[in-house]
Each structure stands twice: as C-alpha cells, then as structure tokens.
Symmetry: C2
Subunit: 451 residues, 2 copies
C-alpha cells in the first residue's frame, strides 16, 4: 500500500492533511458501472477542511472521500514509509454483508485483530448494510474506529453491493432476510434467492476476479429477546449456488457455503463423549446441506489419529444421538441465550477463512460447502455440497480422496443430496436453469437457530 | 499445567478417561472457606461414565467435576506430554463477573483467542453470573466449547464469587446493576457498592494474592432494542475503591478502574482532527473519573511525537469540543446502534490487560484508574483516579512523572477529584470509613451509554 496524499511529501512521517482521501476513495471515480446508491462517510469534510487551501481538487477529493470511507479511515497514511509497517503485505479487501448484525459484530473485530491473516496483513473492511440498518452500520464503523486496530486501515460502509464489493478479495455474505410469520419456506427461498442473485451479479461485476466468497446465510441474529423462538433462512448451500450462477466470471470453486460451525460442534461433541480435549479430534467432515439433513461423518473422523469407532464403542450413540446433538446445538443455545449463537458462528467463519490461507495440517482436512462438479465421491454435479477439503494455504483447496464411504454414510449423503437437488429446482429461475418448480414440503429441515 | 488423570498413564497421548476431572475440579475440595452456592457443570457424569470401572473414587471425582467445570472442559489433558503444548506457560486463571452480558460476550472470545497473553498461554476462564442469568452463562460456555480455542483449557461457571474467584490471577469485574426508573444515583451507588464490597471480600478470601483486578462497572449492555435510552451504573473508580477497601490482603496497586475506552476514543478523535491515522497518537491520559468530569489531556498527548497543540492549532476545539466529543461518543453510539458499545469496550479491556503484561513502548504511557496514595501530581490520596501509567510488562505499573500540568488542566483535574471525593463519602459505610454522607446532587455526570 503506497498511499500518500498529493499534498504530502512522499515518506513524510507527519501527514497533516486532514482532507487526504485514501486510494480507494480516489480510485472509485474511474469505474464504469451503475451507481445506485451513495456510500456515505462520517467525516464532515467542511469541518475537517481547516488549514487546507480551498481548491477545486481538494473539494473533489473530499467528495470522493464522503462516498467511500468512514471517519478516521478517510485519513492519509503511507505504510511503506513507516518502519513498523513497511514489511507488511499488500492490503486485503474484505467485504461483509449483513454487517450491522450480531455475527458480523463479532466477526469484524476478530478479523481486524488479525485473527485470520496474521499481524502483517493490513485490512480494508467494506461493510454492506441496508437503508434500515444504516445507522447501526455507522455504529459498527465507529466502534471499529474506537478500537484502534493497527492493521485496520480502511473501513467503508454502504448499501449498494456494486459499491461495497468493489475490488473485494473476500466477500462474506452474512445478510439474508429472516422468515416472517406464516411465510412458507419456498417463499423465503425466493426472497433470499433474489438477494443472493443480486450479490452474485455485483461480485461478478466489481469484485476481484479471484474473490473468495463465503456464504453464511444465517441472518437470525438481528432479533433479540425471550419472544424469539425460531427463524428461518435459506440453507447457505442453495444461496451459494445462486451466487455462483450469477457470477460466471468468478471460478465456481471460489464459493463456499459455511458448514464450519457444524464441524466445530461435531468435534466438540466427539471430544466430550470420548473424554478428551477437542484438539484431539481431526478429519471431521460435515457432508451436504447446512440443515437437519447434514451428515456429521463419524466414519472418517479421528481421535488422536485413531478412527472414532475404535475410541467410542457406543455405536448407537454415534449413529443416533451424535448427529442429533450436533444439529440441535443451535436450538439449545437459543433456549439458553434467548438468541442464536453469534460469537461461535463468527469464530467458525474465521476458522473457515484461516483454513484457506494456511496449509491444512498433514493428513487432516476441513469441511466446506463447495461446488460439486468433478467431485470424486459420486455426489450429483452442479450443486453446492459440504465435503472434506485441503488447502495449501493459497486460498484454493482440493477435495480429500482418502475418504471411506460405507452404506450407512452413503444413504445419509443421498438424503441430503436429494434435499439440495429439490432446493435447486426451487431457485431455477435464479440460476438460469429455466422455470422454478418447488416441491419442497414445508416440513423444516432447517437448523434451529440458524434457520 | 501437569494435569493427568489418575487412570491415564503419564504421557499417554490418548486419555480415554471420560470421567477425568481436571486439576481445578479436584483441588477445590481442599479449601477451607464457606460454600454458599454450587457451581454446576454441564456434563452429565452418569451419561459419561460408560466404560469406567464403577468405583467410589471415580464417583467422587465426578462430583467434583460437576461442581467446577463446564462440558468438554471437564476432560483430562496433559499439556506437558504434548509436543505442541509442552513449552506453554503455566495456566492463567481469569475470573469475569457479568459474564453473561454483552461486553463479556466479546471479551471472553478475544481472551480465549490469545489476544491478551499470546499463543503460548493456556487460559482458564471462571465465569460469574447470577441466578437469573445462569442459563445465558451456560450458553456462553457452550459457545466457548464450540469455538475449539486451543488455548482455552478450563471454563467453569458459577454464581458465588467465593467459588468463581478461587485462585484467580485476573478478575475482570464487569457486572453491576443498572439504574431502574426513578432510582436516584446515590441509591444505585449503594446497591452496586454492596456488590463490589462482596466481590472485594471474595477476592481477598480466595483469589491469588497478587490478583490483578480491572473494574469496568459498565453493566448497560444487557438490554436491547430501540426503547433503551440511558442507563446508569456507578463510576468504576468508586467501585474499584470499594473493592480495594474490602480486600486488605491484596495490594491496592493491583486494582484498576477502566478508562481505556475513553483513552482510545480520545486518541481516535485527535487523529481524526489532525487527519492522521490513529497509530500516530501517543501519551494520551484520561485523568480522573470515568464520568463526564473526566479529563482527556491534550496538553501532554502527542501526535507523531510532537505536542498535540503544535499539530492541532484549533485551541477552541481542543479546549471545548474535544472533551465533549469523547464524552458523548457512548451516547452517539447508543443512538446509532440502539444499545451501548460492547465490542469496543471489550477491546479496551483487552488493551488494558495487554498494557500490564507487555512493556510500554519507550516514552509512551497508558491511562488507568489506580489508587492515588503516593501519587506525584498532588491529587488527593486514598481514592481511585485515572492517571498515566507505564509497565515493564510484569503486571505492575509506575506512574509517569514526565507530565506537564498547567492551570487549565489542573482546574479540570480538581473538578473530577472533587466528584470522586464526594462519591467516596457516599460509600463510606462500604469502605470502612464510618457513616456514609451522600451530598451528590442527582445531576448526572455519568457518561451516556456507560452509565
């Protein structure tokens, strides 16, 4: 990041240019694409302008700054000129939708602290909210300012994905609409499908061509109180498929549907049952959809390098209770907490990102909902399905091939596959597959607390 | 931490002892002090007991486990036997009150991720809640389990400070009662004073003799929604004084009242005004009380090593708007967010702890509300007052002496000192100073959003 104001001498340690706009501010004017909303900035340029020669250029720059950046993040700095930061990596742009929600409220601070990318990676956060949540979005940006994270160099906020996703290296899609009273699941799939279709199109148009996209689709954390029981959102796998189909210029392999929270919960429950600490559990796969048809795989998982079935002899527990316990965890948390899990969901997003930017430990793997075309397991092609992945730490992954599948596991995989194929038909109008035909029964397979 | 179950061979990599109770579980039986409540455990020992020879010893151990630890944190492990963890430091015990609240919900995850103590410091969290919040406390512990933090080795929950504060190396006192409708400030000071008096006594009885205590006294984050406007809690400086007086065996120097959020906000506002990034601002002192009488000190603060007044020529802004902006920040956040700041408060607690366990950068200092006796500035003795501190990183601090105080600054210091002396009189019955005399006017000097 060689960013310096036109008015500040290069390498100046004191950049006393209150109006300096950072690179993102200035760059935005050059793009040829529709602008539908204005990204606001918390800095009052007039109040800030004291001491600056009144020039047309300065005013134009201030106008750009107002559009793009938030508060103190509008300031000028030069990472290369500072001894402490000159060895840092190139800025990474992370766009987050649903940025005013509770999951994001944990996630943004964890990312800004360096938990995903380490302590030499400067970070730009691009926060996407809605008209309704815009004030809360400003609140989040203010709290990020007040946290003085050294790595956090840019924060911008907005309500137009075409603005906010610009040059994004990562897009974390957390926002979706919760199900209202009496709303059928198919109707919700359509409403949220439209959101993910639009976001896919926006990513296709303006994001980095190698953007990594993680679809969380867990919007249930914006409501509080004891009256909340269950809300429903579309399964993230289906949302991710819609995104893929609307972003033809981005490799399908770059899209992930989050199943890491399920993986983490499954590891914890196996550890608890075996009476060991959770760091002993490895090779935990969640197969399929992020719903009650999900398959936490105890056949391939290991405890201290040994097959789980050798350590936990209680087959009935493994075959029945284990999966139910993992699936019900979110619901139990809602009962305890009065709202769904936000902190641990955020941690699992951090884990999912870290798994793509650090090499997978030898022999281990992680779960992610990824595009099935070309998969070695015989799972239907052209859907998004959680499977075991390994990464060299370059942002990419390969599917694990050293996986055993027995009849019991296969039968369950087919069930979650059938659900995903049915969901796919429901959103055919959004994926370019013709006319939607929705034969989803209204029986919920959505996870409590994540629905 | 050399912890291993009696039934597991030392150094065994697979500790398949579902009933293994960790050291804290077993140790607790040896203490001679009143037990007033039972610390519950989420693990159903009976369900877990499969495969274990039914023995009296195992049952006794399970009973201890039920009392102390939560869920998977009841499991046995031996850090010294594992290649990955054998070089780790000795476990640090961190007790947190108000553990079911929103600030804690951020703070606990930040601490567990290693943000304070680094990646070789195993962590035990002891969570203090109330009868009313107990279920939420279980929810927090469950989310901590699901987060699979490698450093987080013990989590216990309880409602008795005499249980929860046992052997605490750190106590973060975040819980207090918010002001109800029509409640006078003096009455609230008394109610919360009683809580801090009890917690001080408990720390005195059972905590590590060198425990470091950070009093936040910001309980406003348990209510949500658009109807929330302002709540009121006692100023943390007064609460810290009550703690000190009720814990005569713990050095008074070990108690801190949090003013770091104010310091961070002040730094951010100076950066914003000067048009520089916030990492350029140093030597920022908050003097006095965490209330509207607080004094953000622009006389001694520096921007890029230069006095602030040399960089920001707008004296009127410094003398008037700056302080108001810092004080009003919490209130603005409530308006934006619909609730008070939790994430950035948690970050400031992390910052406050880090400042005590890492050496202060050469020439810089940090603010903390500390015991005034022996202070070099002429501030009244025997109160808690935020002042500039430096640490060698050993948990201790010294007051900075290279500080300039002019008439303008001194006048404001005297005003916040007067308030603290008045608050002290109100809680005389709790500090052993005789009969309380409360001439506090009901005019609030409490900060919006932190009250």
């Amino acid at each position: 990041m060689e960013i310096s104001s036109a008015r500040a001498p290069a390498g100046s340690r004191l950049l006393a240019t209150p109006l300096g706009a950072h690179a993102a501010c200035r760059r935005s004017g050059q793009l040829l694409r529709p602008r539908r909303h204005t990204v606001r900035c918390s800095v009052d340029a007039t109040r800030q302008a004291q001491g600056i020669p009144s020039a047309v250029a300065a005013e134009a720059e201030a106008a750009e700054a107002r559009k793009r950046a938030f508060g103190v993040f509008c300031t000028t700095y030069d990472l290369k000129a500072d001894e402490k930061t000159k060895s840092w990596k190139k800025m990474v742009n992370i766009a987050v939708s649903g940025a005013a929600g509770m999951i994001s409220n944990h996630l943004l601070f964890q990312i800004a602290a360096g938990e995903v990318f380490g302590l030499d990676q400067p970070i730009a956060l691009r926060l996407l909210g809605s008209e309704r949540s815009f004030q809360a979005l400003e609140g989040v940006a203010m709290e990020l300012e007040d946290s003085l994270y050294p790595l956090l160099r840019e924060v911008s906020i907005g309500i137009d994905p075409y603005e906010v996703f610009e040059d994004a290296d990562w897009a974390l899609l957390i926002g979706a609409k919760p199900r209202g009273p009496g709303m059928e699941r198919a109707a919700l799939l359509d409403i949220n499908g439209q959101i993910f279709a639009e976001q896919g199109k926006a990513l296709n148009a303006v994001a980095s061509k190698n953007v990594k996209v993680i679809v969380v689709g867990n919007p249930c954390n914006t409501k509080y109180g004891y009256f909340l029981v269950y809300q429903v959102c579309p399964a993230s796998a289906c949302s991710a498929l819609i995104c893929i189909k609307n972003a033809p210029n981005i490799p399908a392999k770059n899209f992930h549907a989050l199943t890491r929270l399920d993986e983490n919960r499954a590891k914890c429950q196996l550890a608890l049952k075996a009476g060991v600490f959770y760091d002993r559990v490895s090779n935990m796969t969640i197969w399929g959809n992020h719903s009650t048809t999900q398959v936490p795989d105890f056949l391939n998982a290991k405890i201290d390098g040994r097959p789980v079935k050798e350590v936990i002899k209680d087959t009935k527990w493994l075959e029945e209770e284990f999966t139910l316990t993992v699936q019900k965890r979110g619901g139990v948390l809602i009962e305890k907490w009065g709202r769904s899990s936000a902190a641990s969901t955020a941690v699992s997003i951090v884990d999912a990102m870290k798994s793509l930017v650090t090499p997978t430990p030898e022999g281990d793997w992680f779960s992610s909902g990824v595009y099935t075309t070309g998969n070695p397991y015989g799972i239907a092609e052209d859907i998004v399905f959680s499977m075991p992945c390994r990464s060299k730490g370059d942002g990419d992954y390969e599917l694990a091939t050293d996986v055993e599948i027995d009849d019991f596991l296969w039968e369950r995989i087919k069930k979650t596959e059938a659900e995903l194929l049915a969901e796919k038909k429901c959103v055919a109008h959004l994926t370019g597959d013709g006319i939607a035909f929705c034969d989803l029964v209204n029986e919920d397979t959505m996870l409590p607390g994540e629905m």
